[in-house]
């Protein structure tokens, strides 16, 4: 196939490429702009401070809110938005509420470009890394909000109406509070009282009882436990407080601080051995290593397994399946006692804030964002949230006069029983990759699938923790 044209095609391509190379350096200059947002101050003017407007919100300024549309939906935020409009009628039509599951891919360009929204619910699988946001100074300090009077009682600061530990969770070693956790989650062993009654059993308060109950269930063809093997980082919801119960809260603190050999603590080994025994004796629902959270919750709600490590959102997430069994009677249990020498009493449980809200540093209307949060922390909005999604909020109390659904009522009882013995491990918000992928998928998941012994799992996790400590690209925290 000869070319008849004097002009050779290959030649043309070569020349075009040469032209492209000339163009490249010019493009390099463009790239300098792509990452750099303008630093010009584009904030709206502050409004007038008054008793009704303690944060001095500009009454007619727009407000831009992005909500994670996950297990809790976005209706509670829309309701709060109408409260905001009641307080600031001049902002009518200028309040924009977006709900998405893709928090990071939606917001990353806006953070990079320097025009982030005024309030963000930074949650879900695409949660932006808090360590990075704080480290790069991208967030507004919420102290002003915490020191503002609460909506319900002008003599009380917002700070004093929150549940214990919530403010501390939003801090990163300094005085500033960067994050406000709106939901309040109780983690633990979730089960159906109805299904236990069928076996003539109560929730086992000791591990021996637990094993005995699992053996009994196995005879009836019911598994003792299941868990989402696809996301094995659900296991810590009951495993971490179990470790704390056996060896004291100190063990978890050392783990969070990435101290050398923190995982080699005997309490860790004892807890791992106990869970491994569940697998060994065949008390874990077959196939669990291949299930995701919805599939495992479904199997559990259908009564194929008695227990599942989970958080209080499970009541909302599995509502449809649970409703199929009117006798289900959802409840949460604290980790069983392993032996009499456990350092913490029975009832020790993991509870902490969920749904982290942030106000970006470069938000145009930061005051408005904080004001919306303040309104959300009123008793009215809080009760609205509880009713809608059966989860507690960070507002302490606020449940008076509400008929709580069974799971939430049981969580409330568990919190009361725990009293001071509430633990709050920070791995999952400080070191996401370490917690979810390394410890969760690569070690705990492998152990519960029987492919690693507890000793091997501990060794592996300790190495991962050491690697993270030595990784200069990961910001470290201490508590």
């Amino acid at each position: 196939m000869g070319s008849t044209s004097a002009f050779n095609r290959r030649d043309l391509v070569k020349r075009a490429a040469a032209l492209g190379i000339v163009a490249v350096p010019a493009m390099g200059m463009l790239s300098a702009c792509a990452g750099g947002g303008s630093d010009s101050d584009n904030k709206v003017e502050k409004g007038k401070k008054s008793a009704k407007n303690p944060l001095a919100v500009n009454e007619s300024a727009g407000l831009d809110v992005v909500i994670f549309d996950g297990g809790f939906g976005d209706k509670y935020a829309k309701d709060a938005q109408s409260e905001y409009l009641k307080a600031f009628p001049k902002a009518e039509g200028k309040v924009k509420l977006t709900s998405t599951q893709k928090i990071q891919s939606t917001l990353q360009p806006r953070f990079n470009g320097g025009n982030p929204p005024d309030l963000v619910d930074n949650s879900g699988a695409e949660q932006m890394d808090f360590g990075t946001l704080v480290g790069k100074d991208q967030l507004t300090d919420l102290t002003a909000l915490l020191d503002a009077p609460s909506v319900d009682d002008p003599n009380k600061k917002v700070r004093d109406t929150l549940r214990p530990g919530v403010v501390e969770m939003g801090q990163f070693g300094g005085k500033e509070t960067w994050i406000l956790y709106y939901a309040y989650t109780v983690y633990g062993v979730w089960y159906s009282q109805g299904n236990l009654r069928k076996l003539d059993a109560e929730y086992p308060e000791t591990w021996d009882d637990m094993l005995a109950l699992c053996a009994k269930a196995k005879k009836k063809g019911v598994a003792g436990w299941t868990y989402p093997g696809k996301y094995p980082y659900y296991l810590p919801f009951s495993l971490y407080p179990f470790i704390a119960k056996i060896g004291g809260a100190e063990v978890l603190r050392k783990i969070d601080n990435l101290e050398p050999n923190a995982w080699k603590d005997p309490a860790v080994k004892a807890a791992f051995d106990a869970y491994y025994e569940l697998y060994k004796k065949g008390y874990v629902l077959k196939g669990s290593p291949g299930l995701d959270h919805l599939q495992s919750q479904k199997a559990w709600a259908e009564g194929k397994a008695l227990f599942i490590p989970n958080g209080s959102w499970v009541e909302n997430e599995s509502a449809q399946q649970i409703a199929k069994n009117p006798d289900f009677d959802l409840a949460v249990g604290a980790p069983s006692s392993l032996s009499d020498s456990d350092k913490m009493p029975y009832g020790t449980i993991w509870a902490s804030g969920g749904e982290p809200f942030i106000v970006p540093r470069k938000a145009r209307n930061a005051e408005g964002g904080m004001e919306l949060l303040r309104l959300m922390l009123s008793k009215k909005s809080s009760q609205n949230f509880i009713k809608q999604v059966s989860s507690l909020t960070s507002l302490n109390g606020g449940t008076e006069g509400l008929k709580l659904p069974p799971g939430l009522a049981s969580a409330q009882v568990a919190l009361q029983k725990a009293g001071q013995n509430i633990v709050n491990p920070r791995m999952q918000d400080w070191y996401v990759a370490l917690q979810k992928e390394r410890i969760g998928v690569a070690a705990l998941g492998e152990m519960m699938a029987g492919r690693l012994t507890p000793d091997e799992a501990i060794k592996k996790i300790q190495k991962y923790a050491d690697d993270t400590r030595d990784d200069s690209s990961v910001k470290k925290y201490k508590r």
């Binding site: 463009l30 790239s31 891919s105 998928v441």
Partner: protein
């Protein structure tokens, strides 16, 4: 006259070249630049850190298992998909029993098969991935239910939950989703091979095996080569990402057994806030892709047969 011609052509090329430079070349250059910074992806401020990101790559176990899995996909996926595609296309067009008048023909019902093979092609990748995920569900999935039904109660693999077979499970779904396209592509190629070639071969007493390797494959070589590169890129690219992201335990698989390079890029950018490091991984992915294309072009170089 010749110069005028150049100017004439260049005039037409200015706009496309500019667009190409802005939207294709400049992102490449930017990515390479970012891979030398500590950019987080969450704030515009960053500093140049030299080769730190690349030094880190060498010590990153997860990166290496991602490279391993990506290369496995790269080597096996095209072979399996294209072989199946060729085999099916041959059976549909040439492999059938000889009938009156027609020199060659497909197996009985080949029209129906064509539709069946092409069917997965009209489903989007996430749907295929989800379908397979349901089938692989160890607790209520079709595969384990099938094993139970035929009396193999003890054979109940965890499929995607087992690091030994997870990658194969993902690969099977990818083959299933892609093979139809190649059946159609190769069918088109085969239909342009003159029938007299087959007639001559058949008169000489060639069997199906011989007609395939002596006539069909050599005359189809260009198409196969294109398909090979296309499939290889797909194995390294977003398609692998989507399948692994949706199907895999983790994602990234149990014990990183299905971690692939594009997924790792995504995780480092969107989960860990390390966009600079992620672009370094991206650049290494670019290198793997370039090496692959070069090798395939080199190996596939053959004299072109004209007919």
């Amino acid at each position: 006259m010749k110069h005028g011609k150049y100017r004439f052509i260049a005039g037409f090329l200015v706009l496309p070249l500019a667009i190409y430079a802005i939207f294709v070349i400049s992102p490449f250059v930017q990515a390479i630049y970012y891979s030398f910074t500590d950019w987080t992806g969450l704030s515009p401020d960053m500093k140049v850190v030299g080769f730190d990101n690349y030094a880190r790559l060498f010590q990153d176990d997860v990166f290496w298992s991602a490279v391993g899995n990506s290369v496995t996909l790269l080597l096996l996926l095209p072979v399996v998909t294209l072989s199946l595609g060729l085999f099916f296309a041959f059976m549909l067009n040439v492999g059938g029993r000889r009938r009156k008048k027609a020199v060659i023909g497909g197996v009985r019902g080949s029209g129906t098969y064509k539709i069946l093979y092409f069917f997965p092609q009209v489903l989007s990748v996430p749907i295929v991935a989800l379908l397979f995920q349901f089938a692989y569900n160890p607790e209520s999935g079709a595969l384990n239910a099938f094993f139970k039904a035929i009396g193999l109660d003890n054979v109940q693999p965890d499929w995607l939950g087992d690091p030994q077979i997870a990658l194969w499970c993902v690969m099977a779904a990818m083959v299933w989703a892609n093979v139809g396209f190649y059946v159609v592509l190769f069918s088109a190629g085969m239909s342009s091979i003159p029938k007299d070639f087959y007639e001559a071969a058949l008169l000489d007493g060639a069997n199906r095996f011989n007609t395939f390797f002596r006539i069909t494959l050599p005359l189809l070589w260009d198409t196969v080569q294109t398909g090979w590169i296309y499939m290889g890129i797909l194995a390294l690219d977003v398609s692998a990402f989507a399948f692994v992201q949706i199907m895999s335990v983790g994602p990234g698989g149990p014990d990183y057994s299905t971690e692939v390079l594009p997924l790792y890029v995504y995780q480092k950018t969107f989960r860990d806030g390390q966009a600079g490091y992620a672009t370094a991984i991206g650049v290494s992915l670019l290198i793997v892709t370039l090496v692959f294309s070069a090798v395939v072009m080199r190996l596939g170089r053959r004299e072109r047969l004209e007919f």
